[in-house]
Symmetry: C3
Subunit: 210 residues, 3 copies
């Protein structure tokens, strides 16, 4: 199972890096900026999780395969961006897969570090969405995850399956697969059917002061 998660984790890193790098290309960043966005999107969620559970230095910093992968993804996006734009649909499917894997693997890691079953899924979700949030903050825009289709909720649902399975002491492999599958299909369904979380009734216009 460790092996399965590792492979999926590397795939997730690749697809997230690709998605971040593509946005950098669209915003007219230079090669370095594109690589930074590839790195931030692929690694920030996992690094933040590792910081929060005290696992320093974070895994993304001492396994050479991670930099190798996000650097490759960044260079590929930089060189062939017009071509990759046409792959929009496959990229979204891989992105959903990356989200699912990061969410369940992050939850597993948080549980292993002694975080309780209520907060561990939040850390798993953070592993999945943190990279995209930093990417958007660096591009000086409101993170998409705060107002897009079911994205974080899909991650949270998959992560919760893992936490519940751990509380009930179910066998970890099928539970992890089930959690990842739930997140994956929830995200794809949200994309296909345009599922959104509700927005609040419009508040009367007011000043922006806190």
């Amino acid at each position: 199972m460790q092996n399965l998660i590792l492979h999926l984790d590397l795939i997730g890193t690749f697809v997230f890096a690709l998605s971040g790098a593509m946005l950098g290309v669209r915003h007219r960043l230079d090669l370095f900026g594109v690589l930074v966005l590839a790195f931030a999107t692929a690694s920030a969620g996992g690094i933040l999780r590792d910081l929060l559970i005290g696992a320093t230095p974070p895994a993304a910093l001492h396994d050479w395969r991670y930099p190798a992968i996000w650097i490759s993804a960044g260079l590929i996006a930089f060189a062939w961006s017009p071509w990759i734009e046409r792959l929009h649909q496959p990229v979204r499917v891989f992105d959903a897969l990356g989200l699912a894997v990061f969410a369940v693997a992050g939850t597993d890691k948080a549980l292993g570090a002694g975080i309780g079953p209520l907060m561990a899924p939040c850390l798993g979700m953070l592993s999945g969405i943190g990279g995209g949030m930093l990417r958007d903050v660096l591009l000086a825009r409101v993170p998409l995850v705060l107002h897009a289709e079911l994205y974080a909720i899909a991650a949270l649902a998959g992560a919760s399956v893992v936490a519940i399975g751990s509380v009930l002491q179910l066998p970890p492999v099928p539970v992890t697969v089930a959690g990842a599958a739930l997140c994956f299909f929830l995200r794809l369904a949200a994309l296909r059917y345009g599922w959104h979380l509700p927005k609040a009734l419009q508040a009367p216009p007011g000043d922006d002061a806190a």
Copy 2:
């Protein structure tokens, strides 16, 4: 005293979460976005402080009362935002109370972790203002605390009282109460009388490059 601080801390968490969630509603975020802003505003300052002093995992992640409180505050803001808008004045009073409590409690915690009396008030201040700063960064705007009425300075003043009391070995409970009161009334007075820190003489217009 631990008990007093804990109760005030929970109140501060609630009010900060409410303020963050209200801003999310005004920016037309969905339910998840509103909850993220509630969490970020209420918890980011304390989490950052805990990361900086090496206290991992942060308290906000392993005490179930904190998520329970900020989730409730987020849901309340989501459901009844037009009604809460009318409470502007009370919310500001509670916000000042939260700032005061976070500032003194954060300073206490930093001193306990061996941070010197010069930097500990800065960490206390950070506990008080960090959440609001992350909230504004996520909304892609310049943090209010960088150009609003005396806000951070009120937190720093209260935090400094705690640090000075610790250096002089005064009894902690009255010192903590005095620090919190100083911050609270300074903030309220700044709001009422429109106290601002000075701005620098306008520099000649120039390019924005560093």
Copy 3:
């Protein structure tokens, strides 16, 4: 050598703080906002590096000279900003010096904490550019380093010299000096000759969704 690095580190802190504070003045922040930008620009890179390698509390928080220096720089920028604007050229030279010192000192520290020679230069680069990135995020704009002249690459080049020297077990003092000099002159040459990294071919206009 420790002494040399310390002195250069303090100079770097001063110049970075000055550059951050000047930007705060230009954005019409109040005195506190200017000081926060001075602190963030001068210290955030090093603090983030220390968090990532697990060295808490970060050095910038328990050596009184660092706050003394960035507070002084912030006050100077606040009081004499029109005068400092005229020093644009010298400030850029000192900024390049600060970048060089932070990059090599950060790499040294990362290697000492057991980070491998592939990732250590990245942490050194992060020490050099992290402060400016946070400064720009707080001002709600895309970090300059993502699209400016060779800046991060100069830091990475200097940091890599240190890492390679460590792998080859060369004597540390000349290696560190060589790394810093490479970064410094590369940055100055990029400024003088307008060297840029390439940008990708313009992708066809598309929506911004990930």
